[in-house]
Subunit: 186 residues, 2 copies
DNA sequence: ATGGTCATGGCAGGAACTGACATCGCCGAT
DNA sequence: ATCGGCGATGTCAGTTCCTGCCATGACCAT
């Protein structure tokens, strides 16, 4: 029996996305995913904490892509957050767009997956606000800056994966930010 | 057998909150809650879609408390959203504060409950943005205004239930809003 | 009283997880 | 080269969440 092929985690993720697209999240059991990856249901749960988590791996790197540029940025809280959001957007190259579209289609189709996505974004916002507070920023401004930064990403990302959209995520974020400024600056 | 006492839904909610506080969310089964309310597990799932939902009933009224004042408000998108947020805050009287504190303690202790709370707030934001779009506001500004309105509520609410806090939710929201303006207006 | 209707009970079963233990393959120590 | 450890996986039993289906009890209009 071929027991050790390596890349079990990646195989599970690929199988899961494929099956979720084909049969829907609800129409796919964890056993289905494990079978498609040549593994067992038990092994699935060793790699992912629950069924939804298979679509949301890499939270650590995701947060780091914001926290690292945040640490380097200078200026007031809001400027630093926006610099981090801009820097992180550079990690969303156009090659990833089709994959992101597919993944987001699956997520948007099921409230349980939307919940998980919101939690991940909320954790990111918390992490950013936490760093700011650790550096002396007051709690409320820290939370507001983090929330707005994540909101800019969230809204720009939705445009980025919309059908026919070709502009880069960075450009879209810049446009959303301009709108935000005019909303509150007027 | 006393089969019809009425208020089954309310009894289930009360029993759930009490047991979640005593034994934790994870340490309480749905059967426990149903038993404590003198009902069956099957009946629990007729009143609530899932175990978490017992803490989040009343989403309809919650959204209405924003949408109704929103419809009456005048001015640009952001001003209208803020007026709605302010009006809705009036529905959080001080008598509710101890209960809100207890409930929030339970929610904050379990990621699954945090997920559900985020989803409910996201649905509120979506509903507000949807109304704005229906009245001709561009999608991006509509989403931004809604997100910021909800963010103001969320952050002020966290302060409102903090230990020792005595100011009203409306006052706290006004302060958060002032901070928001200075963050983006500077 | 009679029939309809609605809330509830009872039961069976699927799917999501979890804990305990066994097994397989690799890799370093002797 | 053999042995023994170690990490990844398999196996299995069990709990909990949640759903479908049908039965039963209580209230109401006639």
């Amino acid at each position: 029996m071929v027991r050790w092929e390596g890349g079990a985690r990646e195989r599970l993720q690929a199988a899961a996305l494929r099956l979720f697209v084909e049969r829907g999240y609800d129409g796919t059991t964890v056993a289905d995913v494990a079978d498609a990856a040549g593994l067992t249901e038990r092994t699935f749960f060793r790699h992912f904490t629950d069924k939804r988590d298979v679509l949301f791996a890499g939270q650590e790197e995701f947060e780091q892509s914001y926290l690292e540029p945040l640490a380097r940025a200078e200026g007031d809280a809001m400027s630093r957050v926006l610099a981090a959001v801009d820097a992180a957007a550079a990690r969303f190259p156009d090659e990833r767009r089709p994959w992101s579209r597919l993944r987001q289609t699956v997520i948007d189709a099921d409230p349980r997956l939307r919940e998980r996505e919101l939690l991940k974004l909320s954790l990111l916002s918390e992490a950013i606000a936490g760093r700011l507070r650790a550096e002396g920023v007051e709690p409320v401004p820290a939370a507001l800056a983090a929330e707005n930064g994540v909101a800019v990403f969230r809204i720009a990302f939705a445009s980025w994966i919309a059908a026919g959209e070709t502009r880069s995520l960075q450009d879209l974020q810049a446009e959303v930010l301009a709108r935000l400024r005019s909303l509150l600056g007027a």
